[in-house]
Symmetry: C2
Subunit: 185 residues, 2 copies
């Protein structure tokens, strides 16, 4: 992995662990083993790095979506959940939530990229829900886009909340979403 990619990966980790404003170039230099100034060579400003991290997630999302596109709606939804399962296993939160709470402190170009990421996530989950509804495997009576917001909200928030409650709540919530979605009650 190139130095540039290593920096992005570590920055991603730190943003989702401590928050955008709490991590520093010094944190990165410690973690990677190169000096502060070397990181500025790759990413002159912190915003440049923030954008790169968001873009990495955009790319990862597109790849995951492409990779799973022929699977069943339920399997695709579980693929979406896997993003959060992976985060939760490392005590990390999701990038969208991490940067949303710091939204009023990040530069406008980072904000813009973040909005695109949120939009892409919303589009994907909405698409999965519509497909599942058409196939009769998902049951819900509200607008698909709103249902997608509810499910995304559940995942985004639960990875934050399990820092305060119990780690087991993550699996409980995931199972409950699938139960309610797949059972006509």
């Amino acid at each position: 992995m190139s130095t540039r990619e290593t920096i992005i990966e570590q920055a991603d980790y730190l943003i989702r662990d401590k928050g955008y404003n709490a991590f520093s170039y010094y944190d990165l230099s410690k973690a990677i083993g190169i000096k502060n100034a070397s990181i500025h060579y790759h990413f002159p400003s912190k915003s440049d790095l923030g954008i790169a991290v968001v873009q990495k997630h955009l790319q990862g999302l597109a790849e995951l979506r492409q990779e799973k596109k022929d699977l069943s709606p339920l399997e695709q939804l579980e693929a979406f959940f896997s993003i959060y399962t992976k985060a939760q296993s490392n005590q990390k939160i999701c990038l969208v939530g991490a940067l949303a709470t710091d939204f009023h402190t990040i530069e406008e170009n980072v904000q813009t990229h973040l909005k695109v990421l949120a939009d892409q996530v919303l589009n994907w989950v909405t698409e999965i829900l519509v497909l599942g509804q058409q196939q009769g495997v998902f049951h819900f009576s509200i607008e698909p886009r709103t249902k997608a917001m509810l499910i995304i909200s559940n995942m985004l928030a639960i990875v934050q909340l399990i820092r305060l409650t119990q780690i087991e709540d993550f699996e409980r919530v995931k199972a409950a979403i699938i139960f309610e979605l797949t059972n006509p009650q």
Copy 2:
């Protein structure tokens, strides 16, 4: 309002606007009109201030709960939602979410108080849901505590997400939660 109370209120505002690590004693001094050092007289360390803000929310929650305890389950749930409606109207997020994302950077005594707040919220919403279920006005098939986590997650995350999507999503989500909860499908 006493200077102490003014400081707490402004700190509350700033934490939920910019995040715990992004606001400074200087921000407070500008907003209130007293000097940096004067704030340290009331709150020697930033942790002292953080704890005071959490405790203000704990007290506010207890008062709201007491005030609404004889109302119907639906009205009590709407009272819970009103916390987020108020936040959303000022582009603020909820305190629990704001401090959860910064959780790994705040001092242990702030963490402890925050956990108590999250626990109190969870207890209240669970209680409302059980009552509604007993009265036959709420319909859900999962554990009440898990259902409470789902609903709290929805509200906690939506106030973060509307910074990235559309402000109208807040009302949509709120209406959808009530619709799904009150309709047997």
